[in-house]
């Protein structure tokens, strides 16, 4: 527990990390002018992408942006708070089904249904996280895995969720008379969501709560000794992650107009987790990159036909092998 009387050895100061090429490249971001220039370039690229590429590419890019939101949400749980969640797609499902059902069964309308969907996801987060976050993290992985399957199983068997065929005919939303219905319009909606997701993630990371996640992840006992309630702080991460997931699900549902249980499978959870780990847990630009690689990778390898998933998987494995802490380099030296 707190102290081990037997080991009273001095801990040697950690050796400083060697300065790799990527780290030097990253030094660009230490200059605020260059940093904002890089941000501006990325934003412009996001804004003009649908004009440059065709309809098909726009749809794929929209999916990548959805993944950005989902991955940033899971990154708060896994990257910041260090909790392994194997059933993250469940929250994605809760958000999607909540707006779909409310749209079908009530006269609330899309925007008024959003708060209910978010509350439903947050409540699910508390119900799953509350009892399990007190336990060791391996239990959490198992419980979340089970939760993900339960949600999908329920969706496939309940009448209100449309059983195996799911819910279709989900109405597309209007905003101040603007009817959001074309793929390009949805692309911009997801681009906006991604920007909000990034801003919220950055702000959380640089806050009292964000630091508390790191403290707890590094040393639970020392964090407790600093007056940090580790269960509460972890629960906050879990609930915030579930809200990100639900936001992704809500807009996913209205974008496609139809949802079915298979959109929220275990593989979905694994893909999101893989993107986070691939990009680099806890590193926002890395996670964004990871989301794009996971979505665009198989598309770019389309020419390989049957082999593409195999090639993609091997590529991922190699990256993991050579950069176990993710593609994005650590900034602190």
């Amino acid at each position: 527990m707190a102290d081990d009387a037997a080991s009273r050895r001095r801990r040697d100061p950690a050796p400083s990390r060697p300065n790799t090429g990527v780290a030097q490249l990253l030094a660009v971001f230490d200059d605020p002018r260059k940093f904002w220039l890089a941000i501006a370039v990325v934003l412009v690229a996001v804004a003009v992408a649908p004009l440059l590429f065709g309809q098909y590419a726009t749809v794929i890019l929209t999916n990548a942006l959805l993944y950005v939101v989902l991955c940033l949400g899971l990154n708060i749980v896994v990257g910041y708070a260090g909790l392994l969640d194997l059933g993250y797609a469940a929250f994605f499902a809760v958000g999607a089904y909540a707006v779909a059902i409310l749209g079908q069964q009530t006269a609330l309308g899309f925007w008024a249904a959003i708060p209910f969907a978010l509350v439903a996801a947050a409540a699910a987060g508390v119900i799953i996280g509350g009892p399990t976050l007190r336990l060791r993290s391996d239990y959490l992985a198992i419980v979340t895995l089970g939760f993900g399957e339960i949600v999908r199983f329920s969706a496939r068997n309940l009448e209100i969720t449309g059983a195996a065929s799911g819910i279709s005919g989900i109405e597309q939303p209007s905003l101040f008379g603007w009817h959001i219905d074309s793929p390009t319009e949805f692309y911009y909606v997801f681009a906006l969501l991604s920007v909000f997701a990034v801003i919220a993630s950055v702000r959380l990371a640089n806050s009292r709560l964000g630091r508390a996640w790191l403290y707890v992840r590094h040393d639970e006992d020392a964090a407790e000794a600093m007056g940090i309630d580790r269960v509460r702080v972890k629960l906050a991460a879990y609930v915030i992650g579930s809200i990100y997931g639900a936001i992704g699900g809500i807009f996913f549902a209205v974008n496609l107009g139809a949802i079915s249980p298979e959109s929220f499978s275990f593989e979905q959870s694994v893909l999101i987790l893989m993107a986070v780990i691939l990009g680099g847990m806890g590193k926002i630009p890395g996670v964004i990159l990871g989301a794009f690689i996971i979505v665009l990778g198989p598309e770019l390898l389309r020419d390989l036909g049957e082999l593409r998933l195999l090639v993609f998987a091997v590529g991922l494995l190699l990256i993991m092998l050579f950069r176990p802490s993710g593609i994005w380099p650590s900034r602190k030296s």
Partner: protein, 258 residues
């Protein structure tokens, strides 16, 4: 009495580590807890701070019973601690480490953070200012932006003390803060401990094996041996106590010191 332990009993699988310990720390006092290796000193700290759950007795601090409280609740009530083995947050800067202490004195949550409310920004500034103040107090403010675990060992010890100070405690528990320090650093530590009490009004309870340091700094000394309190008094009284001499017999560092 600021802190009062009555009949505290702690067992691990039939092995009794603390036998009915009665013990107190007065407001703004400098007290030391000494005893041979394995006497149960660190275990006593862990009982006070909520890391261990004693089987019996009571621990009252500032009018609150601590026995059933989680560690973070104890800290919030005003007891801060350092660890026998350094427990700094790795990969984080000195400043970030010390900012941890202010967590229990601030409130902003996720909503305030995402929307950068005026209250949240004020609080962030306050957390930073307090952390810097604590670092200035222990004398390592100019190292605030370095990764904490890359500091010289003696300075890492001070980061831990600054971090504990940032919780704004009434009582500070230091577990062997001089271990691994050279004699110059030990003298500085003595000065620091005195200033914590004199300038901040914080009571200090110190576990330490360096008898020279203990004799210099403490107003009262309590001796623990095999889980029992065997002596209590001023430095001179304890030094002459035959039970204390016996407890330390055969222990090199004790013999040399006494």
């Amino acid at each position: 009495m600021l802190l009062k332990l009555s009949d505290v009993q702690l067992r691990f699988a039939g092995n009794t580590v603390l036998h009915d310990v009665n013990f107190g720390v007065a407001e703004s006092a400098l007290t030391s807890l000494i005893g041979p290796n394995g006497a149960g000193k660190t275990s006593l700290f862990n009982c006070i701070t909520g890391f261990y759950k004693p089987q019996g007795g009571s621990v009252v601090f500032d009018g609150h019973e601590l026995l059933r409280l989680k560690p973070h609740r104890v800290t919030k009530l005003g007891i801060a601690r350092t660890f026998q083995n350094l427990r700094l947050f790795r990969e984080m800067t000195v400043l970030e480490n010390v900012m941890a202490g202010m967590h229990c004195r601030t409130h902003a949550g996720a909503f305030a953070a995402v929307f950068r409310t005026p209250g949240q920004r004020r609080e962030e500034a306050e957390i930073r200012a307090e952390a810097e103040d604590c670092l200035r107090f222990v004398g390592i403010l100019d190292e605030k932006d370095r990764i904490a675990t890359t500091l010289a060992y003696g300075h890492q010890r001070r980061v831990e003390i600054a971090r504990a100070l940032a919780t704004r405690p009434k009582l500070m528990l230091l577990d062997e803060p001089a271990a691994g320090l050279n004699s110059g650093e030990k003298d500085e530590l003595i000065g620091l401990i005195r200033r914590i009490r004199d300038e901040r009004g914080v009571a200090v309870l110190l576990i330490e094996h360096d008898m020279g340091l203990v004799m210099k700094v403490s107003e009262r000394i309590t001796v623990l041996d095999h889980g029992r309190l065997i002596a209590e008094g001023t430095a001179d009284e304890v030094r002459r106590d035959p039970k204390v001499i016996e407890a330390y017999l055969g222990q090199e560092e004790g013999e040399a010191a006494l």
